[in-house]
Symmetry: C2
Subunit: 190 residues, 2 copies
DNA sequence: ACAGCCATGTAACTCGTTACATGATTAC
DNA sequence: GTAATCATGTAACGAGTTACATGGCTGT
């Protein structure tokens, strides 16, 4: 049970809590997999160890409860969100300042100081990024497709599908921006 | 002088080092301002204390050197990049894996678990984001405009101008994506 | 039998933040 | 004279990572 009702958690804790609101109970391991699948595009892919420590803290606060099954074999704990957890999540969504997204864009950072190396190297960096964007697009498209069937307004995966489509648009836009920068770099030299 | 030539620094150290490659010498305070002005859009706006501690470390490694002027009044230290620093920066640009950008998108995170609160709240979050994007666009446009005059290929601010234009495209795209999501949310309800 | 995945953690460490402290200089 | 800005840090802390340890289960 939660002693401190107003203890503020890191956003990642709410992110993990949010992943538990889609109707199923998950082990730490599964939660990590789910985070890797979807959350990584918009937030982070937390380390396995962090998933477990965050789950421990959420349990302490009573926002999550785990059922441990100790057969003779492997010990596993399945977590589900509690109603206090639902309340806390909603309070976070409703009450906290939104804040501007943070971008840690290693490609743009390199481009910014491009004059410190050869133009060919910068072009190579941008081309590598285009390739990686294609991979990300493919992965995210697979996720998006897996939501079909319950992505209509009111259905379970409506919001995730809106987010996935946003992500697809985002990667497509990034690809265009990268191509535009490459064209700009070619202006100077043949 | 650097004892360990291969001690790997955090990326933020290279980012700050990169800000010192535009031909001028800066105090820690000025470096922080410059980071707030441009770096924050693509990387981070490091805390003041981190700027100073990072400068101390860069100095230890011999990548930067500071000249302290102790008049009778205020003590100030102006930093410039050394040739070892130039080499290290170039080695980082050329040698390290690029890596995919990391997005910590609080808006998308909230949208992902939108079903945990009222639709009206989610719409409000998105509209707030559109407003903040407008501010960011205005700020970045001012930066971009300040580069005019030396933004042609080969000139001092060519790369920064490419980056700034990319950023402007990015914020414009984000605005479109947010509007699209808002439209999607309105499909369900009148 | 052995590799690879499932499952759960601990320990040490770094990055980066907030809060705080100090004092000089400039603008009104 | 006083508020804002310039300028430089220290201390405590928290988030998150990497490396490591342990062992059961599954497919070939």
């Amino acid at each position: 049970m939660s002693q401190e009702p107003h203890a503020s958690l890191p956003i990642t804790a709410y992110a993990l809590l949010g992943l538990l609101t889609f109707g199923d109970e998950l082990t730490g391991y599964e939660l990590k997999q789910r985070a890797d699948l979807t959350l990584r595009f918009y937030w982070v892919a937390p380390a396995t160890s962090q998933v477990y420590s965050e789950l421990a803290r959420l349990t302490e606060h009573g926002l999550v409860e785990g059922v441990t099954s100790q057969g003779e074999g492997r010990r596993t704990t399945v977590y589900r969100i509690t109603s206090e957890g639902q309340d806390a999540l909603r309070a976070w969504l409703d009450g906290s300042r939104v804040g501007f997204p943070t971008l840690k864009h290693t490609v743009l950072l390199r481009l910014l100081i491009g004059h410190a190396t050869e133009p060919a190297r910068i072009r190579a960096v941008l081309e590598e990024y285009v390739d990686e964007l294609a991979v990300a697009l493919r992965d995210l498209r697979a996720v998006r497709d897996s939501l079909r069937g319950s992505d209509a307004p009111g259905e379970a995966f409506f919001y995730p599908s809106v987010v996935a489509d946003w992500g697809l648009d985002y990667f497509a836009a990034e690809t265009r921006h990268t191509r535009r920068a490459l064209a700009r770099l070619s202006e100077g030299e043949p």
